[in-house]
């Protein structure tokens, strides 16, 4: 993978997956320079972000919240197969399936990740995490910043 220049992506990107990882894991698993963004009008929290081109040539946008320690993965809105991009992403990034908080329902996780996630979901810790996240989903347009 490599950090791509901002002008290389001229299509809007949309979220496909979130995960919980530490900052050291972010830099270990995605060893590219990240842009730090701390403008409160531009991000929810102080963040690190990068447009990354995977070895396959596919582009992903990675956002990492320094406070929440949440990774947000985005792919171009059109012209890409999100499922295939995830296969390529997990081919380069050893992110454990237990760290995945959400993925877009119309995009399948790679088979090896799906099987790992099923095993992980038997643990009590993951079940609690999922329940807590669901409670936040029902709040509709209400927000805080």
């Amino acid at each position: 993978m490599r950090r791509a220049k901002p002008e290389e992506l001229q299509i809007r990107a949309v979220p496909i997956m979130t995960a919980q990882i530490s900052e050291s894991e972010l830099h270990k698993w995605m060893p590219v320079p990240f842009e730090r963004v701390d403008d409160p009008w531009a991000v929810r929290e102080p963040s690190q972000a990068a447009l990354i081109q995977l070895g396959s040539g596919a582009y992903v946008v990675v956002w990492y919240g320094e406070t929440s320690q949440q990774l947000l993965l985005e792919v171009p809105e059109t012209g890409v197969d999100g499922t295939q991009v995830l296969v390529e992403f997990f081919g380069e990034v050893p992110l454990p399936p237990s760290r995945i908080l959400w993925h877009r329902p119309d995009i399948a996780l790679p088979k090896k990740i799906r099987s790992g996630k099923r095993e992980d979901q038997s643990s009590e810790t993951v079940s609690r995490t999922k329940s807590k996240r669901s409670a936040l989903e029902v709040r509709g347009p209400r927000g805080r910043k």
């Binding site: 992506l9 809007r12 979220p15 947000l72 989903e137």
Partner: protein
């Protein structure tokens, strides 16, 4: 405490070229001890956002464009605010 107003959002620079300006927030209540503000809005967030991370982008109904491709806002009612001490 409450008040009507607008919350602004702009695009992050140096990430990718087609990033649109958007107001971004967390869903849910503002926890004690966390700097920020809590608000209600009638403006529907963008579809397809990650759970718990609503955003309101340029071009969506109810999102006011203050500066095209740079700055947008939505109308809100602020219900709680925690300032830095």
């Amino acid at each position: 405490m409450s008040g009507s107003g607008a919350i602004w959002g702009r695009r992050a620079r140096n990430v990718y070229a087609s990033l649109w300006p958007a107001v971004k927030a967390w869903a849910g209540s503002l926890p004690d001890g966390v700097i920020g503000y809590e608000f209600f809005t009638d403006v529907e967030p963008d579809p397809g956002a990650a759970p718990g991370s609503p955003q309101w982008s340029e071009g969506r109904p109810g999102v006011t464009v203050l500066e095209r491709n740079e700055l947008v806002s939505i109308s809100v009612i602020v219900t709680k605010r925690h300032d830095a001490s």
